[in-house]
């Protein structure tokens, strides 16, 4: 029998493993079905979270499609920023939970995580493939800029985890 043991933590974090796997025996079939039943709700919640954010992104694009949407001379949302934000959101998986969307006056999409304004991570997705980020984690403040190449940067994924842990 072809068996591979995955730690539960790995199963929970590897999206590719959310797809039920076929087995070679009754035992492996049972394990595959059991895994599927455990992970399906997780898969659904990820999909729901991502879809909800994508729906809100569409609404954001509508709300901010004209200049001066904020009453203070903001630029309309950048098409490139919107497209990159959609790619970013699709890559979020479970990190889509508790995220909320906004926009800067320069026309960049923003995302924010955290239980409240004193423990939060904000990122701004620019129109030229950069992510500016700032984290306010209790008394600690951090900020930085990282390139966006189509996948969630590792440091951003870690920051999301830290912002959501509180």
């Amino acid at each position: 029998m072809n068996t591979t043991t995955w730690p539960v933590g790995a199963l929970m974090t590897r999206t590719t493993l959310l797809t039920p796997v076929g087995g070679q025996s009754d035992e492996s079939d049972y394990v595959a079905k059991r895994l599927s039943s455990i992970l399906s709700p997780l898969k659904d919640s990820r999909a729901i979270g991502v879809q909800a954010l994508l729906d809100d992104l569409q609404q954001l694009a509508e709300d901010c499609r004209h200049e001066d949407w904020n009453g203070y001379g903001a630029k309309a949302l950048s098409q490139q920023s919107l497209e990159d934000a959609a790619v970013f959101i699709r890559g979020l998986g479970i990190n889509s939970r508790d995220a909320s969307l906004g926009a800067t006056a320069k026309g960049w999409v923003t995302l924010q995580w955290g239980p409240g304004p004193k423990w939060t991570l904000s990122i701004a997705i620019t129109d030229d493939a950069w992510i500016h980020w700032a984290a306010l984690l209790g008394p600690n403040r951090e900020h930085g800029t990282t390139p966006f190449m189509g996948a969630i940067p590792k440091n951003i994924a870690e920051l999301i985890q830290r912002a959501c842990i509180a």
């Binding site: 954001l60 709300d63 901010c64 001066d68 949407w69 904020n70 009453g71 203070y72 001379g73 903001a74 630029k75 909320s100 906004g102 926009a103 800067t104 006056a105 320069k106 923003t110 924010q112 239980p115 409240g116 304004p117 004193k118 939060t120 904000s122 701004a124 620019t126 500016h132 980020w133 700032a134 306010l136 403040r141 951090e142 900020h143 930085g144 800029t145």
Partner: protein, 143 residues
């Protein structure tokens, strides 16, 4: 309002003076928590953020001023974000709230000193948002 005269342009406000950013977009708050979003303190396209000084103004008069700001911008009033000048000063090394009287509003002020670095700007907005309190616009009552 008493007979107090606004300070000259550029005078830093006292730390305990509360200023208000008039909000005309629902995108200025996090819907799930009602917290002010950092972007509410984004000064672009300029580098100074217009705020109202609240000193000595009673709530009804303050809301009237907020309504006037919204009307000037052809927007519906959504609410305001209140925060003390001391929190603005603490948000970044050069940040300050200063008097900036206007002919139509002697109690206008500017938040200024925003850094050029975009990530640091985001951090500054974040610090201000953490100190800010969202006050929703009053619902108009019939009659």
């Amino acid at each position: 309002m008493s007979g107090r005269v606004p300070e000259p342009e550029g005078t830093p406000l006292a730390g305990d003076e509360v200023v208000a950013r008039v909000l005309v977009s629902g995108r200025s708050i996090v819907k799930s928590t009602g917290a002010v979003r950092p972007e509410a303190f984004d000064p672009a396209p300029g580098n100074k953020l217009s705020v109202l000084r609240q000193a000595e103004w009673a709530e009804p008069a303050l809301w009237l001023r907020c309504q006037q700001v919204a009307a000037m911008r052809n927007k519906a009033l959504f609410g305001r974000a209140d925060l003390p000048a001391s929190a603005i000063r603490a948000s970044g090394p050069d940040m300050a709230a200063v008097a900036a009287a206007r002919p139509h509003d002697p109690w206008h002020a500017h938040v200024q000193g925003y850094p050029a670095d975009e990530a640091l700007r985001l951090s500054v907005w974040q610090a201000m948002a953490a100190a800010a309190k969202f006050v929703p616009a009053p619902v108009p009552t019939a009659g």
